[in-house]
Symmetry: C2
Subunit: 289 residues, 2 copies
């Protein structure tokens, strides 16, 4: 296996698929594009892509097929009629879905003689093609390594392991972290905003603080793996007292406290389970039902 310069076919030209194709073109890879509604191909053809007249033609054009469509059901419905053309190809599936769907698709692709990588794109379309953006992949290591140069045109490719479900699993976990972080930031922004501090003033401080929080996570990760949570920096008891201050300050300023109240409740459950003198990492015990 080796990446050759016969290029890549991009299946699905929504805003993300179009961004992927554009990044491939920008880095000089011969790129064939196909979309169910053909007009989406025109802007890419104007940038040098070959617009395939059919999905069969797209599959025939390149050894690597990069798919980014609405969901796994759509992809399966598209590929099933042309499954005979998949033998010897590498299917790189960047469609969003569940770990189970990724594993099933890997198995289906394998049954038709195709190698399979599942992927997750950790950015929005405007971020595609920048070197710092993470693209997560799972599937056979040799397949990933053979196509690393091609995948590097899209962003920084990270290989998570052989289980094709891992990219989707990490994707869900990381999005959950994102929503929690963004909502915590919005709550803080609403709190300081109640005292006329602008979001643009608070946010650089918040972002800098996140790098300190990252240090805490690095401290806590081995505690989680060890199942022991020494509270020498800050205990759950201390955090429960402190979050009371936040709830009081936010309540006094008309900010909705559902998020900190929920977090306080989780801390209290950890304390009730005997983790009052442990670190915040001990809350994982109450998250695992």
């Amino acid at each position: 296996m080796n990446t050759d310069d016969r290029g890549v076919a991009v299946i699905g030209l929504g805003s993300m698929g179009s961004a992927l194709a554009a990044a491939l073109l920008d880095s000089g890879h011969p790129t064939t594009v196909w979309n169910r509604s053909a007009e989406k191909a025109a802007p890419l053809a104007a940038r040098g892509a070959r617009a395939a007249a059919s999905l069969e033609e797209a599959l025939a054009a390149a050894p690597v097929v990069l798919a980014c469509v609405l969901d796994y059901d759509v992809l399966r419905a598209l590929l099933t009629p042309v499954a005979g053309s998949l033998a010897g190809k590498v299917l790189v599936n960047l469609t969003s879905g569940s770990p189970e769907q990724a594993r099933e698709m890997a198995s289906w692709a394998g049954s038709h003689g195709a190698d399979y990588l599942d992927g997750a794109i950790m950015t929005t379309p405007p971020g595609v093609g920048t070197a710092e953006v993470m693209f997560l992949y799972s599937g056979p290591d040799a397949v990933f390594e053979a196509h690393r140069p091609l995948l590097s045109a899209l962003g920084d490719p990270l290989h998570l392991g052989g289980d094709p479900g891992l990219a989707s699993l990490y994707d869900a976990a990381l999005l959950g972290l994102m929503w929690a972080t963004m909502t915590g930031w919005l709550h803080g922004t609403a709190l300081v905003g109640a005292e006329k501090t602008e979001a643009t003033a608070f946010t650089p401080v918040a972002i800098r603080w996140l790098s300190t929080v990252a240090v805490f996570l690095t401290t806590y990760a081995p505690q989680v793996d060890a199942g022991r949570y020494p509270g020498d920096d800050a205990t759950v008891d201390v955090q429960i007292a402190a979050i009371g201050h936040l709830i009081h300050a936010a309540s006094a300023r008309g900010v909705d406290n559902a998020l900190p109240e929920l977090l306080k409740g989780m801390m209290e459950r950890a304390r009730a389970a005997g983790h009052g003198s442990d670190s915040y990492a001990s809350l994982i015990e109450v998250l695992r039902k």
Copy 2:
């Protein structure tokens, strides 16, 4: 006003106060220490601190008084009998409390002829004295600037503005962001952990992802200030669909979903308020009651 080398007195020698005094000693500032129970001073005296026999003696020893005690009530109780010694001093109060308490203390200190800075320490005791750690201050700009060199011995001093309540307000907001982020990380860690991925494997990816999330916050902050939330990168509708996948994946693996369920509910409230096509930043509208 100018920082002079007559040094600083540290009032309160719990683990944080002791760390503050140690950092001041390490950077060569003449440091006087005092604690209600005197034995806490011994380790610092061994490192070169002058252990004051009384609070009066501590206040007399230095033009700058740095206080870090249990709470504002304790500080007020300590200082009231010696209030006559405060005239001409600078009281830097790093005790945790509310914006209202900070403003009240500033006013009280002023009534006794002292300048006042309120502060918040954005680290745990082991982090004190490192240059990257944030110390937040609020109070008169001239007082802050005059003592910046001294305060720099503790960490990187950030001045938030003249209102003495701002340091406490930011502190609460940033801690809220911390708890939300740490809990989102723990949820993700529990999710990938259900598939035998170690926390120490997931966490570096999560930390790297946080720097992408920081880019989103930087994009969203001016939207919050403008009160307009164009959803050109990702809409609330898209996030609602995506968080459904997370909830499904976590539920299938026995991970408690109270946090993502709450976040989904907030997204749905934003959608119901007409923000379905807006960015995630529009959730601030449902946070402001």
